[in-house]
Amino acid sequence: MNASLFELKDVTFRYETDHPVLESVSFSILPGERIALTGINGSGKTTLLELMVGLNKPQRGTVTAFGRTRIEEEDFYEVRLRTGLLFQDPDDQLFSSTVAEDVAFGPFNLGWPRKRIMAAVRAILARLGLEGFEHRITHHLSYGERRLVCMATILVMEPEVLLLDEPTEGLDEHHREMLVALLKASPCAMLIASHDKALLDAVTNRSLRLENGRV
């Protein structure tokens, strides 16, 4: 019985330029798995993560998520609500005036009632050491604080799978430790692209390396 959360088969992807970014990539993510995704800069880690939630469409191969093959934009809608993708650049993710608004955005899309949303926002901010940040202006926060807020925006949606692109980059020691502890305690399956060896050693139990495909 196939209980995989994500399954990629023979996925090939290239941008307009000829050079293929991903070549015949195949792997799956089972519940409870925490996979480290390594590879040099430009090896396609970000592209792969974005492809898994349908932000890029592969020229060849299939993406199966939560038991169904996903091809059209409409297919990925459900995937995005159950998968938390953390972007590498927080400015690509944050767009609201206050922290609370940005964190509440996902739950709004999920259709939760207002009260549940407000409670969830408060709870996740507390867990990330951001108590009292609800009314802070995201634009004025430091880089590290914005990264953590981004983390909050996806964790609050209670996803089944986390796709994280350099989650600890720019974080000071204190926040970094908090994040590592949080990830260790999390029930989510994860695919983490990172250069932070300590993070990967502490949290992940499998490894994938991207080099023109996979090794």
Binding site: S97, T98, I137, H139, H140
Partner: protein
């Protein structure tokens, strides 16, 4: 409210061009050389923002935001809108060159008007609701005025055009509503994140 090529009569085209030219000169006078990067980046931002589609009813409208541009730039909105329209005409082949003067006039006059009417009010506003309300008024008014000016230009171009003026305005109603709502949201956003953009200290 872009009017395409070929519809307007020569007097309207020339009149619009002359008036806009004069206003552009005035706008350039208010723009120091040092202000040009800011005005240009804001013009680019408005250009990109006008590509955003907002669902309304069963279809969608695209944003214009000339009211907001006027509030932020004042008379400099004239050269800014001229540049944006020129770019639209050349990059997207949308709009037109012979009608550049008239279209600039149609969009920029309400913009400057919004600056004159609403910035004093914004200076005295303190609550989020107040800002949102001013934004809604500015957005709705700007687009309504643009619609009226456009209809007037068409009506002035020929006897048979008059019934079209009314029809144009009716068709624009959803656009007016979305502009009001979105401008309200943006002004509210700016009042929290960067109020200095809305109300600058006089030089």
């Amino acid at each position: 409210m872009h009017i395409s090529e070929g519809i307007l009569s020569p007097p309207v085209l020339i009149g619009g061009a002359v008036l806009s030219a004069a206003a552009v000169v005035q706008g350039l006078r208010e723009l120091d050389d040092e202000d040009i990067p800011r005005a240009a980046v804001l013009t680019a931002a408005f250009f990109v923002a006008s590509l955003i589609h907002v669902p309304v009813g069963f279809s969608s409208a695209h944003l214009i935001l000339n009211g907001l541009l006027g509030i932020i730039l004042g008379w400099a909105a004239f050269p800014a809108i001229l540049v944006a329209l020129l770019l639209q005409a050349v990059i997207f082949n949308f709009g037109g060159l012979t009608v550049l003067g008239v279209n600039t006039f149609i969009l920029a006059v309400p913009a400057v008007l919004c600056r004159m009417l609403f910035v004093p009010v914004l200076r005295r506003s303190h609550t989020r609701t107040a800002f949102a309300l001013v934004g809604a008024l500015a957005g709705g008014l700007a687009v309504t005025l643009s619609g009226l000016l456009g209809a007037a230009a068409i009506a002035a171009s020929g006897r048979g055009f008059r019934p079209v003026a009314g029809a144009l305005l009716a068709v624009h109603l959803p656009v007016i509503i979305t502009e009001a709502l979105i401008t309200a949201g943006i002004v509210s956003f700016l009042s929290r994140v960067k109020p200095g953009m809305l109300v600058r200290k006089k030089k």
